[in-house]
Symmetry: C2
Subunit: 124 residues, 2 copies
DNA sequence: CAATGTGTATTACAGTTGTAATCCAACTGA
DNA sequence: TCAGTTGGATTACAACTGTAATACACATTG
């Protein structure tokens, strides 16, 4: 099973941009990021570098410009982060978390219906 | 709404011990921890100190010995950590996460039944 | 009372993370 | 050709984390 590198909070924002569309040049990423954050361009370049170092992304070079693209899928990362979250908070057990969430969160009538349909799909 | 301090991975293990039973002396905590981790006693004391500093726990003094107890409940912390997790991974939306989980995770027939019952309880 | 043990307080130290600034090489326009 | 601009590489730096070790103060024992 492929292990995905650990992606930090700040890095995650950059990944989202690349998952959304790629390849993108550093400047494209910077533009996209500045619609959602206050980060300076230099900061975003740092994050791109770190992500490339840890092989979460890579790039192709076109003249002097790099175009970045993800090496790991959003699904993989979500799964991996979820696993460690679950492990930390709930000792790894999935159902207790669900139970807790369902207790705590407010869901619309449609949400509930949708979830129930999914459960129906799961049961044989 | 009360804000809980951020509790790190390592600190979380200590909190679990105190949530499980408190107050406990440092040595009690250390004993309990050593059943589950390899951490040195000094390490655990450091974690207790840091937790006390950030007011996640406090202590009473009995002669020269401290007895520690949580200042924040497990529920609060779970909720708070879950919020930031959700925000980071799913942009804060709860249902997409559930949908994803239900797709990914394998649940027993009883689990599914239990969840369905909970959903029934939620819908008016 | 002196040495030893024990519990707490202080200090250590490297790796990670957030958040950039500076340096350098190449391109571009005058 | 020279200076400014621009993209990338290197460096910065403090806070937070994991993981302790050392120092200190009080208590106990011989």
């Amino acid at each position: 099973m492929k292990t995905v590198p650990h992606i930090t909070d700040a890095e995650w924002e950059v990944m989202k941009v690349l998952w959304n569309e790629s390849p993108r040049t550093a400047n494209d990423v910077i533009d996209a990021m500045q619609e959602r954050t206050e980060w300076k361009p230099k900061t975003i370049r740092t994050l791109l570098n770190r992500l490339a170092q840890k092989q979460a992304i890579s790039f192709t070079q076109e003249n002097r410009v790099y175009a970045y693209f993800p090496l790991v899928s959003e699904g993989e990362c979500v799964k991996s982060e979820t696993q460690s979250f679950l492990k930390r908070i709930y000792g790894g057990a999935f159902k207790p978390m669900l139970v807790n969430f369902l207790k705590e969160e407010q869901l619309s009538e449609e949400d509930i219906k949708e979830l129930r349909d999914m459960l129906d799909g799961k049961s044989k």
